[in-house]
């Protein structure tokens, strides 16, 4: 069963065509990375998968069921984290986790929260207001929120942007470990090539709303005869009108 399948997905905003008919799917328990320059349509694609943006045309299938924008049921098995989304500042970290635990109606409420606190090392600032945390600490809390419902599908939009290398590495290691221990499929939009190389099973290269290349990170590097993904990225993005 494919957790996510996207067919000929298009999004036309008033004047910009942000996504121009893309096709892709994510395999069970795999991580798909969305790579591409600013404004190529990554966030728009994620927004459509979350039901935040209505596609102009095309189909989205979540677990082989066509996404239904009226019924929010599919959101029970998904979750999302990104630095441009934050949790209520006035609530403490613990209160926020409880609010979202309730919101997703999770069953083993207390154990799940305790486990996330333990795993993401949230103890030191558990009773601090979320607004008073550093961005690295906030990032960990957001990650905890995004895992609170044991999502089967996790969407991450630049999860480690604005983190120092050490904290960024901490988050990446944690995601790597989490992925090994849980049955989860991840869609990761990122500008961090090391992160993509390390976490992804498959890479989509986007440019101007289209997928211009795809493959395993290693295969892409070999195919384009470069040393690393960053050079592949630069080559593809600077190329003119190949597709």
């Amino acid at each position: 069963m494919k957790p996510i399948e996207v067919k000929n997905l298009k999004k036309q905003f008033k004047t910009t065509e942000a996504v121009k008919g893309i096709n892709f799917s994510i395999n069970q328990s795999e991580t798909l990375a969305l790579l591409g320059p600013n404004g190529c349509g990554k966030t728009t694609t994620i927004g459509m998968l979350l039901g935040l943006i209505t596609p102009t045309s095309g189909n989205i299938f979540i677990n082989e069921e066509e996404l239904n924008y009226k019924d929010h049921q599919f959101l029970n098995i998904m979750n999302f984290a990104s630095p441009y989304v934050e949790l209520p500042k006035k609530l403490t970290v613990l209160e926020n986790l409880k609010v979202y635990g309730r919101m997703y109606l999770i069953k083993n409420f207390k154990e799940k929260i305790d486990q996330l606190i333990e795993d993401l090392n949230l103890k030191p600032f558990l009773n601090k207001r979320t607004g008073e945390l550093s961005s690295g600490q906030k990032n960990r809390v957001s990650l905890a929120k995004s895992l609170i419902n044991d999502p089967k599908i996790l969407l991450l939009d630049e999860p480690t942007a604005s983190l120092d290398p050490d904290t960024g590495d901490y988050v990446r290691s944690y995601l790597e470990k989490y992925k090994k221990e849980n049955d989860i499929s991840i869609l990761l939009a990122s500008h961090n090539m090391d992160e993509v190389t390390r976490l992804s099973d498959y890479v989509l290269m986007m440019k101007e709303g289209q997928i211009i290349d795809h493959g395993k990170a290693k295969d892409l590097i070999d195919k384009h005869g470069r040393e690393n993904l960053e050079q592949v990225f630069l080559k593809l993005v600077r190329q003119k009108n190949e597709h």
């Binding site: 049921q73 979750n79 919101m103 997703y104």
Partner: protein, 254 residues
């Protein structure tokens, strides 16, 4: 249902603010109406009219504003997307906003109403059982305005906030809060009567001045309210659909 409780709880602080402003307003209007009692025959036996109207109008104002504030707070805290990507339904968002706005409004209003009793010897509770119906009616209208403004916030972003304030002040003169409908120019009167407010405040005066209750006004108000509320709810749903088309939900906080 638990979700609602937690949503409500997440907007608990600033209780001081909630109590402070209604109280100040009541005290101000209390002195104004006391002054009128000393100098005007009309108000002599009905000193409470202005004050009661002020308290009731404040109730409306609060319920509507706190509705929008709740939503704006979620936008400012950049939390709104977290809510949209959770399995919360739009109807649940409406329910949560409606019930927490009620709680916030009550926190502000109840102390203010009690303060008015010893201070000015005026009690809105003199309105008796119909008071509940009048308050209910006002609350419905507050929710309606709140829904409309929130729909605007969803659709046009936080800059729509100014319209929120403007709309309330625009409606005030048409609401006939402190004076009978007949005072208005004749061509404005039908517009005013099309709003539930005129009926609500007309009845408030009727009860206080004539000591009789006419349920026609009350039923009129509730009927009109239900029409407007239904309209507001459907506009609220439409604003979500349109925000999803325009992609404004994703960067609503910016």
């Amino acid at each position: 249902m638990l979700r609602h409780f937690y949503l409500i709880r997440s907007s608990f602080p600033r209780i001081f603010d909630l109590i402070y402003w209604p109280t100040v307003q009541i005290i101000l209007w209390g002195f104004v109406s006391k002054f009128f009692t000393m100098h005007s025959d009309y108000f002599n036996n009905v000193a409470g009219v202005i004050l009661s109207a002020a308290i009731l109008y404040d109730f409306l104002f609060r319920s509507s504003i706190s509705y929008n504030m709740l939503f704006l707070e979620e936008i400012w805290s950049r939390n709104i997307i977290n809510l949209f990507v959770s399995p919360l339904k739009i109807s649940e968002i409406i329910m949560a906003l409606t019930s927490s706005a009620l709680i916030r409004t009550m926190i502000g209003l109840v102390p203010a109403a009690f303060i008015a009793i010893p201070l000015f010897g005026i009690s809105i509770f003199e309105l008796g059982v119909p008071l509940i119906l009048l308050l209910f009616s006002l609350y419905l209208f507050g929710v309606t305005l709140g829904l409309l403004v929130t729909a605007g916030l969803v659709r046009f972003g936080p800059s729509f906030e100014n319209v929120a304030w403007a709309s309330l002040f625009f409606i005030a003169p048409l609401g006939c809060i402190y004076y009978p409908v007949e005072i208005l120019p004749s061509w404005v009167q039908p517009i005013a009567l099309g709003l539930p407010l005129a009926h609500i405040f007309e009845e408030t005066r009727n009860i206080l001045v004539n000591q009789t209750v006419s349920f026609t006004n009350i039923y009129y108000a509730i009927g009109l309210n239900l029409i407007y509320l239904t309209l507001a709810i459907s506009i609220f749903y439409k604003s979500f659909a349109s925000a999803k088309r325009n992609g404004t939900l994703v960067n609503i906080g910016e």
